[in-house]
Amino acid sequence: MSKHLSQFESDEGPFHLDYEQHLEPYVDGNASDIDREIVDSHIALCSRCADELKDLLAFKQQPVAALTGDTRVTSSRWKQWLPQSPSLSSPALAMAIVIGVLILAMGVLLWTTYRASRRIERAATGSPESDKHVEKEQPASSTEHTSPENSSNLPTLPREEPLITLNDAGGHILVNQRGQLEGLHELPPDLKKDVERALATRRLPGSPALTAWSTGAGILRSELADQNTFAPLEPMDVVIETDRPKFRWQALEGARHYIVTIYDAKLREVGSSGPIVETEWTIPNSLERGVTYSWQISALKDDKTIVSPKPPLREARFRILDQRAVVTLAKLKESAGSSHLVMGVFYWKHGLIEESEREFQALAKANPNSTVVAELLASIRRR
């Protein structure tokens, strides 16, 4: 039904690019001249469609999977291959090969178990070789695995090796083989899941608190050039903790004074600085929490008022962290404030990107050899 309807001709409603009709043919270079013109004209004005097209073009350029098609569908490929191989036409021969493979697998398993127990023994006795065999993420310190029971003369039990160990929260945070976080208690379950997910996927994509905001694609080039001279600097596209933000902007040469004007989501004016000569201003009254605001800076120069940003440039927007998140943050600072990992993920989740980056920088400093932390920090910076 959906396919049928998507092809229904309609001149009602706004126009946006359709995947089948416009995006895929354009990306593959198969679009007709007319459709190419339609796409080019539309993306100059519609940032959402421009974003979608840009994203798909970038996706097309990315390298394909390292795995080849032959190695992917393991179970079904085995089933296809067995009867086709002439040497395996005899059931007896096939059975003999299967038994042989099983014996080999058991041998490998026994050898691996033996090696693992030797490694744990070496770690318990503080052998300097122990770290050489650990392939997973390890902290910089070489003593961190020596648990209290290992330091005594009690018999050593074979213990599951953690998948990730990080220096954090004044000690160590472990992630076990099942991807579960150990060493941090009293975390809200949602946040714990988010931390585990971040460590498992090694990335923090765009903050969910900021996804509805425009990325600014589709801005006309000539207008972008203007933006470089006189424009708001901060806050821009962020969530902020304080309800009395400081506004900063790029100076306009020859301006007599500036006026900051703040609007709510319905474009009602909620605050104004009045004429000021500096290039920053802190609002004296508190703004409402959980609300998204936009702001403009106007400059008086040669008896003319110049405003930035103005359509079609994207708005300078920010949101004040909502009250619920403020309460959670206060509790979290008490219970897990020393964990850069937890605080970093919390800030990321709520759109406080600068704070999140700061926490991950501190975590990277404490774990200079950790590729997981390096990848998480890189993904925050890529936003």
Binding site: H16, V27, I34, D55, T201
Partner: protein, 353 residues
């Protein structure tokens, strides 16, 4: 004109017309719109059921409101265009509104869906096909043309603990890069053991990769769904603005200019092209030149304006939908350019007053 609409359109008594209108909405529009909104997996399977219900309810109200206003316009002026298939029209309106709403409210999901569609149709390991009953289906290439099973129990288990599933599937990294998505789809299809509906796949991949949208405030759906409209009333009030409009029209790409001018109508469906010579904004000769038509040939066409889209499509060698899209692009651009001029002019008038 669809026979379903005849009694409403021809009713002379206002009360009677309202009764027919209510009947049209209740009997035909409401069930179709409900069915289309109900079939949207995202509106249904969203983890946050409250948000999902609110989305569906907002969207439902907006579609019905738009249909009501469209029907009233048609009744007041039949020249605005007849509806040949009312039920098909409702379905297309609802489908387009639903699609647009989801894309605008969940931009991240929309981009992920595009990526998955592209991967599924460009990687020989996978396939994407259409099934009459379930819409778009995907899976391993060797499953092509099978029906979708969409094993909800497996999907629910993954959704409950994606981290555990990632560890079990032995995926080195998870993300929305092409290589990562390719490996992820491979593991997902193996876990499911059967084809999936595309929307189910998008939802589960979004859960695993944490590609979540969290709009900060509800969209103003009426604004979002409204067609871009150029306020020609204001433009026409001012001679100099009409001149600016004509100048902007001349700067449009030629195909867009043609699609717009040959069907240049105001909100009531009245021809606007004839206004240009009568206000001395442009002569017929200049219009012909802008349209790249020989003068004599254009004069023959003059009395037939505005032309319907099928005729314009024939002139352009395009499809009717392409003509509609070209005109929408042209109007978008004019709207953007002219609204800046109008705003400037209003400010100027305000300061003078």
């Amino acid at each position: 004109m669809d026979y379903l609409l005849v009694q409403f359109i021809e009713a002379t008594d206002e009360e009677q017309a309202d009764l027919w209108l209510v009947n049209l909405i209740d009997e035909h529009a409401v069930p179709i719109v409900r069915e289309i909104l109900g079939s949207s997996r995202h509106l249904h399977l969203n983890n946050n059921r409250a948000t999902s219900t609110q989305d569906a309810s907002d969207l439902f109200n907006d579609i019905i409101t738009n249909l009501l206003s469209r029907l009233r316009i048609i009744k007041s002026d039949r020249a605005r265009g007849a509806i040949a298939d009312f039920r098909g029209y409702i379905a297309a309106t609802a489908y387009n509104a639903c699609n647009l709403y989801l894309r605008q409210k969940y931009p991240r999901r929309a981009r992920l869906k595009n990526r998955l569609r592209y991967l599924l149709s460009h990687d020989s390991t996978f396939a994407l096909w259409t099934n009459e009953a379930s819409g778009l289906i995907c899976g391993f290439a060797q499953w092509r043309n099978k029906g979708a099973a969409s094993p909800q129990r497996v999907l629910e288990k993954i959704r409950q603990d994606p981290v555990e599933w990632i560890q079990t599937a032995d995926l080195a990294s998870v993300g929305i890069e092409r290589a990562q998505l390719s490996n992820l789809l491979n593991a997902l299809f193996q876990s499911c053991g059967s084809p999936l509906q595309l929307d189910d796949l998008v939802n589960i991949v979004a859960d695993i990769c944490y590609e979540k949208d969290q709009p900060d405030e509800p969209l103003d759906t009426m604004t979002q769904l409204a067609a871009p409209t150029l306020d020609l009333e204001i433009v026409l009030e001012h001679q100099h603005m009409l001149a600016l409009l004509w100048q902007e029209v001349c700067e449009l790409p030629s195909r867009q200019r043609l699609a717009l001018l040959l069907n240049f109508k105001d909100a009531r469906g009245q021809d606007l092209l004839s206004l240009l010579p009568s206000t001395r904004t442009a002569t017929v000769e200049q219009i012909a030149e802008a349209l790249d038509f020989p003068h004599i040939e254009f004069l023959r066409l003059w009395n037939k304006l505005p032309l319907d889209d099928a005729t314009i499509a024939g002139l352009l060698g395009a499809t009717r939908q392409q003509v509609i899209n070209l005109r929408k692009c042209a109007r978008e651009r004019l709207e953007r350019r002219m609204s800046a001029v109008i705003a400037k002019s209003s400010v100027g008038n305000g300061s003078q007053g």
